[in-house]
């Protein structure tokens, strides 16, 4: 099994935990790094490996405080990679958390939901 990916949060990058063994997939916090590729490329590479032999069910939890528009693109790329799990018998679904009244994060979630082929649930915190 693929070793887990764990990235501690910083002032401008989110906490990431992709742990296949315990079946925990979580990303939360702020994302506004100066160089988005530098932060997200290793995550995308990890996912690229993971989707070759994914868990039966992958449940990704997203709980963002804030992300900038170049991160928005990278987050979309993460979803797009994970979407490929659908092509096998395995399943992927996403829960997108937002604070009550946080229109920005709610709206971003609704937008992803509208353009992805993944079961995508928005939840108020």
């Amino acid at each position: 099994m693929l070793t887990k990916l764990e990235i501690k949060s910083t002032r401008d990058t989110p906490f990431v935990l992709f742990d296949p063994e315990n079946n925990v997939f979580e990303i939360n916090g702020n994302s506004l790094p100066e160089n988005t590729n530098h932060f997200f490329d290793p995550i995308l590479a990890w996912i690229d490996n993971y989707i070759k032999t994914p868990n039966k069910t992958t449940h990704l939890i997203c709980d963002f405080e804030y992300f900038n528009s170049s991160s928005a693109k990278m987050i979309y790329n993460i979803f797009l990679e994970l979407e490929k799990i659908n092509e096998s018998k395995n399943k992927i679904h996403v829960t997108w958390y937002y604070e009550i009244g946080d229109d920005l994060i709610e709206e971003k979630g609704l937008e992803y939901k509208s353009i992805l082929n993944i079961p995508f649930v928005l939840k108020k915190k």
Binding site: R11, L32, E34, Y66, A72, D102, D103, E111
Partner: protein, 372 residues
């Protein structure tokens, strides 16, 4: 109150365009905000070879200014007054000279005592100041607010100059107490006999203009991530005090991040620096944000096309364009700004106003103005 308009922007741009760096702040002074103002100033100093040597001294003097602002400002005589923690702060580097100016409200009935202390400090020699410092340390009665006396002595000692100050009447109860320190990067201190090209009265004029036009922050300098962060925090702290809902705060924050990171990512880099000017103020309940920075001429046409295009789209069309850009794979690197500007356009009440002025064969100056 007069709205912050484009004339105000140019009034400041004209005056600070020659500065290597300039930070102007007109707002409330919490510990968080003063920490970030110091962090930003230290970052600016650190990045300037000619200033590096005086980093420690400048930091100390800034902290001392804030101590004065906070100590004199807070909860005067137990009364709850909204504006007592409001103040003004300026740091400016111009041709190797570094200025630190602060302004804070003091009660009118305390002015004469404060003046007496200032004059006393100014009348003493270096050695006499040292003696007075020890005396005050041993005898806490000098000021009922505790540190004011010591603070003034320390400022005079560390800066090695007479304290340059001015009292400007504010209302029946308060006056602004302004104080300016001038540091020269080459010599240890600025000699009191030298003419200072930037006088305290000019700093006071900046403050008055900022107050009239409701401007919170003006920053000219480097716009790397390390400089953007303190700016964001300072504004975020001020937004917390606003009566606006969380929606609006997040929206303003988002627009700021996008605009400031656009400078950082796309500006014309000179001497390894990502320089720009940024200004935020309020007008009729809305936030007005202006940025200015150099860009390479080769990006001008595409940027114009892009901005003209998004300025002609309605909300629905902007959303569709945003989603299209989100789905596009392998965007060319420089197009990163595209999606950010679209997302800004979706959240503002004005168009993305812009002007592009050709400087020379390589670069142009881009200004962007939005109201949200």
């Amino acid at each position: 109150m007069e709205a912050m308009n484009i004339d105000t922007t140019f009034w400041f741009f004209d005056r600070i365009s020659e500065d290597n760096l300039c930070l102007l702040y007109n707002g409330s002074f919490s510990d968080e905000i003063t920490n970030k103002l110091i962090e930003l100033s230290e970052y600016n100093i650190h990045n300037n070879v000619s200033l590096k040597k005086m980093k420690k001294k400048a930091s100390f003097l800034m902290a001392e200014c804030f101590q004065n602002i906070v100590r004199h400002g807070e909860n005067i005589d137990g009364q709850e007054i909204d504006y007592v923690d409001e103040g003004f702060f300026l740091t400016k580097n111009w041709q190797g000279i570094y200025y630190i100016t602060s302004g804070n409200l003091v009660e009118n009935n305390k002015i004469s005592e404060l003046k007496r202390q200032l004059e006393k400090v100014n009348s003493l020699s270096k050695d006499e100041l040292k003696l007075l410092y020890r005396e005050v340390l041993a005898n806490q009665e000098i000021s009922d607010k505790g540190g004011a006396g010591l603070g003034l002595i320390e400022m005079a000692r560390k800066s090695g100059q007479k304290l340059d100050y001015f009292f400007q009447n504010f209302d029946d109860q308060f006056s602004f107490f302004y104080n300016q320190i001038v540091l020269k990067s080459m010599e240890e201190v600025f000699s009191p006999n030298d003419e200072s090209p930037f006088e305290l009265k000019e700093a006071i004029e900046y403050h008055q203009k900022m107050t009239e036009s409701n401007i919170l922050v003006i920053h000219k300098g480097d716009f790397s991530q390390d400089a953007i962060f303190p700016v964001l925090k300072i504004i975020e702290e001020n937004l917390q005090k606003e009566k606006k809902g969380a929606v609006s705060k997040k929206k303003i924050f988002h627009i700021l991040v996008e605009l400031l990171q656009n400078i950082s990512k796309h500006c014309y880099v000179e001497n390894n620096k990502k320089e720009g000017i940024f200004m935020i103020g309020e007008s009729e309940g809305y936030f007005v944000i202006n940025t200015g920075n150099l860009i390479q001429n080769e990006y001008v046409d595409d940027l114009k096309d892009h901005l003209d295009k998004i300025n002609n789209l309605n909300g629905k069309e902007l959303k569709d364009l945003y989603l299209d850009k989100l789905r596009e794979r392998n965007l060319p690197k420089k197009e990163g700004a595209g999606i950010g500007l679209i997302d800004i356009a979706r959240r503002i009440i004005s168009p993305v106003n812009y002007s592009i002025l050709r400087i020379d064969s390589k670069k142009s100056f881009l200004t962007i103005n939005v109201i949200a």
